[in-house]
């Protein structure tokens, strides 16, 4: 299911067209699943019981999982699997693939799914959340995933529940996140710093990984910049010709 050994093929290198399509489907299905897992993990980290101190073991395990996914996505360079023309589609309001993976278990267990995890269908593009957060790392090394005061308009496809999370975060004043998680002695619940360590821990990776994937923009940069770059490029073409 999420085995690392699963072969992924770079679309451009495939000679056989059918094989390319099949490869693309395999790639996208695995990528979708992986993206779902990442989104789910981020939601879990955010939606913790605010009244009682959260379970540190659980938080660390989820954070490690997020880091593993991000490292793999960075190595593959596949986190930018959304093609530019799809980026403009309507935002996702369901987690992709989760339903396929988990529906029978939900119905059976009667477990209430986390907000936003509906029994929806696989729709459209993969959320742009991941590329944005990786992008934040080089620009805001100190800020965590939760402090995305960056350009939200760049995130074309965006998960609704995560949308809600970030809206909530942005209504609070800047220092609020630290206060919420701060400890007298030490940052006990510095998930933002834990995640920063993980996101930042991707280190030079994000930039390098991007090189093979953003044909419109030369050189490494964040996906936000590449979005803008492509937009500029398109506008240039329209205006000049």
């Amino acid at each position: 299911m999420f085995t690392r050994g699963l072969k992924r093929k770079c679309v451009g290198h495939e000679e056989d067209m059918e094989g390319a399509l099949a490869g693309l489907k395999t790639v996208s299905s695995y990528s979708l699943q992986r993206q779902s897992l990442l989104d789910m993990s981020l939601v879990k980290l955010q939606l913790c019981h605010m009244l009682v101190e959260p379970n540190l073991c659980r938080s660390v395990l989820i954070a490690n999982t997020v880091r593993q996914i991000q490292e793999e996505m960075t190595q593959d360079g596949t986190w930018r699997s959304v093609t530019p023309q799809e980026a403009g589609r309507a935002p996702l309001d369901r987690l992709v693939s989760t339903e396929i993976l988990c529906r029978s278990a939900w119905e059976q267990e009667g477990a209430r799914p986390a907000p936003g995890l509906g029994d929806g269908h696989v729709q459209g593009p993969v959320s742009d959340l991941c590329p944005v957060t990786s992008a934040q790392a080089p620009r805001h090394p100190q800020s965590g995933i939760w402090e995305l005061d960056g350009p939200r308009e760049d995130r074309g496809g965006f998960h609704k529940s995560l949308d809600q999370i970030f809206e909530t975060l942005e209504t609070k004043n800047p220092g609020c996140m630290e206060e919420l998680f701060s400890d007298v002695d030490s940052p006990y619940y510095d998930l933002d710093t834990v995640l920063t360590g993980m996101v930042g821990g991707a280190r030079p990776g994000p930039c390098e990984g991007l090189e093979g994937l953003a044909p419109a923009t030369p050189g490494p940069s964040s996906s936000c910049k590449s979005d803008l770059g492509e937009l500029d490029h398109v506008v240039e073409i329209l205006v000049e010709t």
Partner: protein, 453 residues
């Protein structure tokens, strides 16, 4: 071959059966959160069985003495004492509640007529004394029978008060409170074989206490990184060696167990032994680390072995072999293909405990759907049993259960998708000598006895 003594062979003998004995707790479908049992522990003799719940209460059951006139009540456990151990607290500094849930209870060896146990919630450990009172004094000189003081000038004669029998009263009183030593949540306490000290472990630190001293504890393990951003591993369980008072082990969320010797240095950050099974690269997935996280570690009674519980299996380790476990027992391997769902509904983070029988010949651990598993180490056989009201007829023997993983489901089998993941057996305990086990199923405590037909 161990029979009824020594804990019994749960699956080794064909004529050995586990039978329902008792069930404690309400039958209501609506379970109050406070009634959920969070820890179960027999004392050293097995005559007392303590449970702690999420509401901070401790209930102690005592085994009835054998009574020829009532043969059926032989060995039954009845309520001995109930008390509120911990109350909910509020940490004003962090604006967070401190749960009153009892995480662990550990008995002290009995040294006099009274019984002592340690109970802990996330932050505070308490030493409780449970004592019996079956006599009261009558005939005081300075006060009346109803307690009112007598006028000294009216006293014309002196008498010696006499002790008269009264109905047995069991009193629990807190003798020590060990507080303010843990920043993180306490997951384990363990009494040392010297009977004077004990350890308490939270997510990042382990402290050593003297039972008499409450205002000081020694930090013996600290894995908190200087920069919390680098935190990737936490302590999940710790225990003292049953005989060597300088040795203890602690397990981690990365599936490792470290054995430490307190003689080597004051701060045992460097382990003496490091137990880890190399990962099988072919089964690696994004969930590998989570399912390798050890939820419980227990020394065998002999002290030669220890057992670790991770999400899908129980491993028995020889203390002399660090490279790999001696035995690996699969608890519910059929869940491996459901890990994503179990991650989503958080069940993958459930912390199952495990326990040895008295002779170390068998081990037991819980699973879902109110199933629990027993593994006989001698015969290599295992059995799955269920703690349910349906199989609760007095002395009825438990029928082995089977989970169907493949296509065709046989009669009496249950399919993986039909398992109830809300019915989880996290806490079990085995009598130190006899074939008696206690299984906590949410708010009910089941007691089963083994019988040879």
């Amino acid at each position: 071959m161990a029979g009824a003594r020594g804990g019994g062979c749960p699956a080794g003998r064909n004529d050995f059966q586990w039978c329902f004995s008792q069930v404690k707790g309400a039958i209501d479908e609506d379970v109050a959160e406070a009634d959920i049992i969070s820890t179960v522990e027999f004392n050293y003799s097995g005559d007392l069985l303590a449970t702690g719940d999420k509401g901070g209460r401790v209930v102690i059951f005592q085994r009835e003495q054998e009574n020829k006139s009532r043969p059926h009540s032989r060995g039954e456990y009845n309520v001995y004492s109930t008390f509120q151990s911990h109350e909910p607290e509020f940490d004003y500094l962090k604006s967070l509640e401190i749960e009153e849930k009892i995480n662990k209870i550990r008995w002290l060896p009995q040294q006099n007529a009274a019984h002592f146990l340690l109970s802990t919630n996330d932050k505070t450990i308490k030493l409780w004394k449970i004592s019996e009172r079956d006599k009261r004094a009558e005939g005081y000189n300075l006060k009346d029978e109803d307690g009112r003081l007598r006028d000294p000038f009216r006293i014309t004669a002196l008498r010696v008060p006499i002790l008269k029998p009264m109905d047995l009263m069991v009193e629990a009183s807190p003798r020590r409170i060990f507080a303010n030593a843990h920043t993180y949540h306490i997951n384990s306490i363990s009494v040392n074989s010297d009977h004077e000290t004990y350890l308490s472990a939270d997510d990042l630190r382990i402290n050593l206490w003297h039972l008499e001293i409450t205002d000081r504890s020694f930090n013996i393990v600290d894995i908190k990184p200087a920069n919390m951003e680098e935190l990737t591993e936490v302590i999940t369980a710790a225990e003292f060696h049953p005989h060597q008072c300088n040795v203890f082990v602690y397990s981690s969320s990365k599936g490792t167990i470290r054995l430490c010797d307190m003689r080597s240095s004051a701060l045992c950050d460097r382990h003496s032994k490091f137990f880890e099974e190399p990962e099988d690269p072919s089964s690696r997935s994004f969930f590998s680390e989570i399912i390798s996280s050890i939820s419980d570690v227990k020394f065998s009674h002999s002290g030669r072995y220890m057992m670790s519980r991770d999400y899908l299996s129980v491993k028995v380790w020889d203390l002399n072999m660090e490279s790999r476990p001696l035995e690996t027992h699969q608890v519910h391997e059929y869940l491996r293909s459901k890990l994503c769902s179990l991650y989503e509904n958080d069940c993958i983070f459930d912390k199952f405990e495990c326990c040895w029988n008295g002779s170390d010949s068998a081990i037991m651990t819980g699973s879902y759907n109110n199933f629990f598993r027993m593994f006989d180490r001698d015969t290599r056989r295992d059995v799955t049993l269920e703690a349910s009201r349906e199989s609760s007829k007095p002395r009825a023997s438990l029928k082995p259960r089977k989970v169907c993983t493949g296509g065709k489901r046989k009669k009496d089998e249950i399919s993986v998708d039909s398992l109830d993941f809300n019915k989880k057996i996290l806490h079990t305990a085995w009598h130190p000598a006899d074939s008696v086990i206690a299984v906590a199923a949410t708010n009910n405590l089941y007691i089963f006895q083994g019988k040879i037909n």
